[in-house]
Symmetry: C2
Subunit: 371 residues, 2 copies
């Protein structure tokens, strides 16, 4: 085996679709010596995380926790707990993550009813309602709040009431949106909402915040078939996170929870409103600067995400070459397009700690040099 | 929301069933500023982890990686990738983790054939063979190498050949054994072996090393029903870890992989043989000292694990009170019994960094004070 030296990665300015840069205080928390996962001190910390997540998600849901996996584990937990074989699940598909939801629905043995939209457009709620009317019984509607593959911001304020009207649960992917734009779980009547730590929360990847309404938890508890995942079975995980039982389920990732606690402290110290404004402000400044370089947004203004800026590549720009130069010469990571959008867009993330004026100025200067 | 102060957990000497104490170098790696999960430097690191894991698991299996979840996610990945509905799976059940395997097998839609043994005893391979003969077609046999709930060390050297004879895969839970006693995947003809980071590898919890033989991977690729988990679907994850494709699957927990890399460096710097000897030596010293306090092992000598010492509680010892005093007065965590063994045994872990002479002496002195 070749000798392996000490870890010395290059410094990166992370302006891709996530992960984002991490605050030094979060790294300090991450490397704080651990206690056991059933230590009374860790149980206090779990309560603190739950309370901070409720505030962030603007919900009173008791079951508001961090899943021991990345954002995609959050997606799977959201679905696998409530979706049973032959259920009808309406899925908005306008990018990679809607497709991933459909894939998981199929693996649950259920039937995804896809509402497809062009990549770069949002899902029309009227089409959801049409599908709800036509499909007969629908168990849930799943929508991606911030489509990381396209930069589209899905309007959600009316979606919950619509689902309620037809007796369906509303499941929302807030992986990229949470902490960067408002996510109002209770006001918008979202039943299940999940996110990831490595986007606008600026914690390293590894945990997935999730919240279940009482109604959603009842659906999970009263289903007739077993939940297909043991690891993500929230009817058991809820007991570990509950003050009354604290029953051992799996060994929680202690260090990652330390880091999430500190990342959430930073979020609340800044304040949600101030944080949303900062994301908006830096995005606008980026787009102004890019326009001067003749680079323009891929997504229409009214559904454009501030933390994930999709930019149309003009003819003549060598996608891979420019991104490689940014990385190797400037230490800047930006994202390329996925699927059909590969080579056609860039995805510039300004998420959490990465959303700073300094980073915007630096990236614009670097791009000007290269182009 | 109540104000949340800086994280300041108490110092703990972790002598329970895991997590174990973590080396300062691992914490330093954990808090190293991250690069992106598709950064060329991270892809190099993934290769390094794979190579180090192969050495540790004593295998040439190409698919040898770290699952993005804790040891239980490793268990679920091991099973859900190969187990299909109506498959027969023989499961050795002599503690909590054999039961957990059976539970997951049921969730896969398959039929667990339980070979039950008294808690504290190992599984008799003759009974496995009898079951293999009787059951007709058996897809896999699952055995727990180190039963963390009882301290039993399952003999495995002959198990692989037996499974091969009947055309069944051998799946081994090495969560607690790996890094503390030999785990010889190729020599023992193990097809699937998984572990956790927080036991004898002394990395914080959050990742699950796993290896699949070519035969096991072929079973996963050629199954007729979809793998029920998207997050743990190794036919896709293998592409992310493969040099040739590097296809994005999910965002890897960067920081945890940094930490695992460093923990594995420490393992190989010490050397496997020296590490196993250290675990054995400290366990023997602990048992000698406990005998002087009239505390004796729960498990017979020949199947006694060195890293998880189950101790029978004599009448008159207040289990919970003693453990609470150890924690609050001495900062020492040891484990109580699970299930039927609650109040009847202690589980004293001497795993990885926690397996030191100093910790043995300290624990013995503390117990002497208390008892």
């Amino acid at each position: 085996m070749p000798e392996m030296k000490e870890l010395t990665p290059s410094q990166r300015t992370l302006l891709g679709p996530g992960p984002s840069n991490v605050h030094p205080r979060v790294y300090r928390a991450l490397s704080t010596p651990i206690v056991g996962h059933l230590d009374p001190e860790f149980l206090v910390l779990m309560n603190e995380i739950q309370e901070q997540l409720r505030q962030l998600l603007q919900t009173r849901n008791k079951l508001t926790i961090a899943i021991s996996g990345t954002g995609s584990a959050g997606m799977e937990a959201a679905l696998t707990n409530v979706v049973e074989p032959v259920d009808n699940i309406i899925v908005g598909v306008n990018g990679v993550f809607g497709n991933r939801i459909s894939d998981i629905v199929v693996r649950c043995g259920a039937n995804p009813i896809q509402i497809k939209e062009q990549w770069g457009k949002s899902i029309d709620l009227q089409k959801i309602e049409d599908a709800l009317k036509q499909a007969g019984k629908v168990k849930a509607v799943a929508l991606v709040h911030a489509e990381t593959s396209t930069g589209v911001w899905q309007p959600l304020a009316e979606a919950g009431a619509l689902c309620e009207k037809y007796g369906a649960l509303l499941i929302v992917d807030a992986v990229t949106s949470l902490g960067g734009v408002p996510v109002k779980v209770d006001e918008w009547k979202i039943d299940i909402c999940y996110s990831g730590t490595q986007k606008c929360l600026s914690c390293p990847p590894g945990l997935a915040p999730i919240t279940f309404s009482e109604r959603a938890l009842a659906v999970a508890r009263e289903r007739t078939t077993r939940i297909r995942s043991w690891y993500l079975d929230l009817t058991m995980i809820a007991d570990y996170w509950s003050d009354s039982s604290r029953a051992y389920h799996h060994t929680a990732p202690i260090s990652m929870n330390y880091a999430l606690r500190e990342a959430l402290r930073l979020v609340h110290e800044e304040g949600l409103e101030a944080r949303w404004q900062r994301h908006r402000r830096n995005s606008l400044e980026l787009l102004r600067g890019l326009a001067a370089l003749n680079l323009h947004p891929f997504v229409d203004k009214e559904i454009r995400l501030p933390m994930l800026n999709a930019i149309t590549l003009p003819e003549g720009i060598e996608d891979a070459t420019v991104r490689k130069t940014l990385l190797t010469e400037y230490g800047i990571e930006i994202g390329g397009g996925l699927g059909d959008l590969a080579g056609r867009i860039w995805r510039i993330g300004l998420m959490g700690e990465s959303s700073t004026r300094a980073n915007v100025v630096y990236l614009l200067a670097a791009l000007k040099d290269i182009l």
